[in-house]
Every structure is written in C-alpha cells, then in structure tokens.
Amino acid sequence: MNGAAAPSCIEVRDLTLGYGDFVLMRDLNFTVRRGDIFIIMGGSGCGKSTLLRVIMGLKAPVTGTVRYGETDFWRCTEDERQRLLRSIGVLFQGGALWTSMTLAENVALPLSRYTTLNEGEIYEQACLKLALVGLAGFEAYYPSEISGGMRKRAGLARALALDPHIVFFDEPSAGLDPVSARNLDALILQLRQSLDMTFVVVTHELASIFAIGNNSIFLNNTTRSSDGGGDPKELLRNTNSAYIKNFLTRGAAGQEDGHA
C-alpha cells in the first residue's frame, strides 16, 4: 500500500477555514493516501482541530472542497454523507464517551444502528473491541468511573466499532503518560497493518510524529497557511523554513543555526 500506486483517500483543495469574518487558515491543499498515517501539525491555536472538524464533517469550510474518493463531502446527498460517516471513526480529545451509557453500550450504539446483528452478537462485538484496547472486564463501567486514559482508550474502541476505513484522532497523546502514549502509537501502527486503515492524527507530540507519521501537513499560524508537508522525517531534512525546523527539533535548530 505504499508508493505512487496508493489511491487517494481524502483530497483537500483550496480549503479556507474561519469563524465568521476571521480567517484561520487559507489555501490548504493536500492529499491523504490510503494507508497513510497522516499528521496535522502546527503550533497551538493555529487551527489544527478546526481543520480536523472540517474534514470529518462537523464544521463547514469557508471555501474549498473535501473529497472522499469521488464524493465531495460538503456538496453530496444525505444518503452519500451517511455512507461516508459510516466508514469513518473518530477519537475525540477527551474520549467524548456518552456519559449516560456503559462502555459496552457506547461501543454497541453504532453497531446497533448500522448492522443487523442481534443483541447478543452486538454485545460480543463490543466486548471484543474493548478487549482490543485493553479494557476487557470494564464493559459494565460508566465513563465517570474510569480514568482519563481509559476513557480515551474506550473512545478508540468506539471509533473502531464499525471497522472504519479512516480513523481520525484529535490529540491522542494529550493527557496520557509517556508509556501509554507510546502504546497508543504501537496500537495505531498495528491496526494499520492488520486492518488496512488510514489514520489522520492531529498532534504536536514530536515523538509520535516521527514514530508513526508517514505523511503530514504543517500549519503555520503566522502566515495563516501551510508551510509544507510530506513525510515528517524528509520534511525536517529538506525544508527551507526555519519555523518548521525549529518546531520539529523542539527549538534546537533556532539556537544552533548553521550547525544542522
């Protein structure tokens, strides 16, 4: 699934993001290929999460298009949009579990809506998905009864409930300890290999960016546009932008200019 032959999965063209008259980012163009682990990176408050919300259909763009394969998300019919939404999964920053339901019910709700499985089979599937993220035995717990890290993992189990083609992550490592964050990275890599999924990840965790990312877009909040993208390791090697260099080296490039 690598190389030029990989079909494009999400195509973003001339996208402008904003709130009211305020333009957050303009002229964004990038392609997420199938099988990518695509990183959206940039400084705090530059519009990473907003870009993610536009791509996954929670917020309309000011101008521009987001295409999933042949379908233009913001200009398609309701049925097409439903079909698209069925093929994506989202892990929100805090997990965003439905607090009035147990973990198993959280995972089961999308299953009961989109599949014809009976109740027993759905429960079995839900338990399986929870076990996949290391939460076996917590099926009957409510979100308020478990820790923040566990909520995040349960959110991942729910995002994987319908075996989506594309999974979106909003700051997956925020609030996780270094070991858990690393385990999450390992899980993402494993899922991509075994289930042929595409991931779009918003993060500024450098360790994660280099460990899992193979494609990226870099948002710059001073120019209000994208500075570059591609494989993060190559981006660091080839970029002319001092800002990106600084960002990807934790500011070290700025201090030792010329030594790199």
Binding site: L58, R81, L85, G89, V90, F92, Q93, A96, W98, P110
Partner: protein, 351 residues
C-alpha cells in the same frame, strides 16, 4: 522609604518637575526580603523618571531585582498582544442588539424546522430515536416530578381559597370559594403552575445536560456516527415533556382542588359535601379541556427552550450555566406570552 513600600509615588512626581532633582539613586543596603510589589514600585518610579528625563542608577538594587526590572522594560506594554476591545457607546451597542435579532430568529426557525423534520422521520419509522430514551425521559420529567407538583399545587389551591375567602366571607358567600378554586385551578392556574415548575426543574436540566454534551464533544461524536442529535437527544425530550405536562396538570388540578377543600372545610367551616357539590356545580369539562390546551403548549415551550439553549451552548462551563439560565427565562416569558394568546383566543370564540 520607611517601613513599607508606598502604594503610589506620593509627592515624588511633582518633585521631579520643578527641576531640583536630576538624578535618582537607590539605597538598598538594608534590604533583606522583597517581592514583586517592590518591582512594581521601581518600574513605576523609573517610568516617571524617564518621562522627566532624569537619570537613574539602580546599581544598589539586588541583582535579581535588576534583572526583573530589565525584563519589565524589555517589552513595551501592549505590544504583541491584541488590542483590547474598546467599550462601545450606547448607540453602537443598541444597534448591535437590533442587528442580532434576525440571525437569532433564523437560528430558532432552523431549530424548529429540524425538529419538525425529525418528527417526520419518526412518523415514517426512519428515526434514530430510541423508545427507551423516550420512556426514561418521561419517567424523569413525569413520575419524578410528582412530589414537587403535589406540594406546590396543594399550597396554591389553599392560597387561592384564602384569597377568595377574604372577600367572599364579607357577603357570607364562602361557598363560592369552591367554584373559584375549581375553575381557577383547572382553567389556567394548574397548567401555569406546572409549566413554571417544569421550566425550572426540567427545562434547565435539558439545557444543562445537552450543553454539557456539547462541551464534552458528545454531540459531535453522535454526528460523526451519522446519528442525528435532533432525533437522539431533542425529540425524545420534547415528546416526553409535551405528553407529561398535561398529565401532571390533571394531577395538579386535583391537588389544588383538594387544597381548596381543606381550607373550605377546616378554616371556613363549610360542610364537606356542600363544598364537593359546589365544586361539581361550578366546574365544567370545558374548563378542564381548555386547561389541557394551555398545558400542552407549555410542555412544548419548556422542552423546546431547554433543548434549543442546550444545542446552541458554547464550549465552556460558563456557557452551560448561561444556557440553563436562558432556558428558564425564555421558557417563563414564552409561557406568559402563550397564556395571553390562548386566553384572548378563548375570549374571542367564547369558550
């Protein structure tokens, strides 16, 4: 400088201007402990000195303090930050409020339209609403509200009876208290009472629950699974409250009349069967039905206001509080408006 640090510069700046001082030197030999209030004083003093072109030497100050003073002067105030929004004048604010009305109204209409579509999906059997959510909402806003409705409506019936008795006993017409309480409760007071209690109890809760779900991105999670929040969160609550408020009103009517009965029999010494008979004679089914029309409209109003404020809630804890408050205020205003409209209509068609 004495024992402490002067809160402001006292008479110093005026001394700067008359030209007798040309140079300021600190003496800090005895200084042992200091905090940032000293820093603030030094910065203010130096700013005043600079404005009057006086030279100042801070060699005697502790080294740490000197570094902090340098840092304070390194960035001119306000640079690099957004300019603070200036206070608008009265006319600008008034104009802003007026200009805000059309988009707000459009937003409300969109919400109502979405709710109608959601109801249409339910009728066609294509809704995401779950029956258990409807039942749970009905249980919460109906059965669990019985104690507070009992308390408030019984007391309200008693108050009505007392108020009526004060005037009616002057003519020896205490027995008409029964009719007053009966008609008053059934026709309008019972429904209004239930409506107001539900606005505070359930409407605010709807706004807070849905608002918190917005803050925690739970509503977004529903949307990304293709589940309509209108079907899943709003519709069961609106249906539950619209069905439960009329039922609660029947209960409140009964309790109110019972309250009036207690006052009539024990305070006004009316015979129980006479009070009963007078109530039966005065009250007609028509009044009960008119009351149920009021009640149903209040149920729709309170649930709509609560869910609408919850759905448009911002993404902060403060916004949730605001949403709950707005839900209650707008519910009560709309209840009074609806009461006026229905009452005028009933008068016109002579019911």
């Amino acid at each position: 400088m004495g024992a402490g640090i002067p809160a402001d510069l006292g008479g110093l700046p005026s001394a700067f201007t008359d030209g007798r001082i040309s140079r300021i030197v600190y003496e800090a030999g005895d200084l042992k402990h200091w905090d940032t209030s000293l820093l603030a004083f030094v910065v203010r003093l130096e700013r005043a000195a600079k404005a009057h072109a006086l030279s100042i030497s801070r060699d005697a100050l502790p080294e740490g303090l000197q570094r902090l003073v340098d840092m304070a002067f390194a960035v001119p105030p306000g640079s690099g930050t957004k300019e603070r929004r200036s206070e608008d004048g009265l006319y600008v604010r008034l104009g802003g409020l007026v200009l805000d009305i059309p988009p707000r109204f459009a937003e409300l209409l969109r919400f109502q339209g979405a709710l109608v579509l959601s109801f249409w999906r339910l009728l066609r059997g294509k809704s995401d609403m779950r029956l258990e959510d409807l039942l749970r909402a009905a249980l919460e806003c109906g059965l669990h509200a019985l104690p507070i409705i009992m308390l408030t409506s019984t007391l309200f019936g008693m108050i009505l009876a007392f108020m009526g008795a004060v005037q009616l006993t002057r003519f020896g017409a205490q027995i008409y208290v029964a009719g007053l309480v009966g008609i008053g409760m059934l026709r309008v007071m019972g429904p209004v009472l239930v409506g107001v209690v539900m606005a505070g109890r359930t409407g605010a809760a709807y706004a807070a629950i849905i608002g918190t779900m917005q803050v925690d991105e739970e509503v977004d999670a529903l949307i990304t699974f293709g589940i309509s929040p209108m079907d899943y969160l709003v519709l069961p609550r609106v249906l539950a409250l619209s069905l439960m408020v009329p039922l609660l009103t029947l209960y409140a009517d009964l309790m109110g009349v019972a309250g009036g009965f207690l006052v009539g029999v024990f305070m006004l010494d009316l015979p129980a069967h006479a009070y009963y008979q007078a109530t039966i004679n005065a009250v007609e089914l028509r009044q009960l039905l008119v009351g149920l029309v009021y009640a149903t409209s209040y149920g729709v109003i309170v649930s709509l206001c609560g869910c609408y404020q919850g759905m448009r809630c911002g993404r902060s804890a403060e916004a949730v509080g605001k949403a709950a408050t707005s839900a209650v205020v707008s519910s009560i205003v709309c209840i009074i408006l609806a009461t006026a409209i229905i009452t005028i209509f009933c008068n016109l068609v002579q019911i």
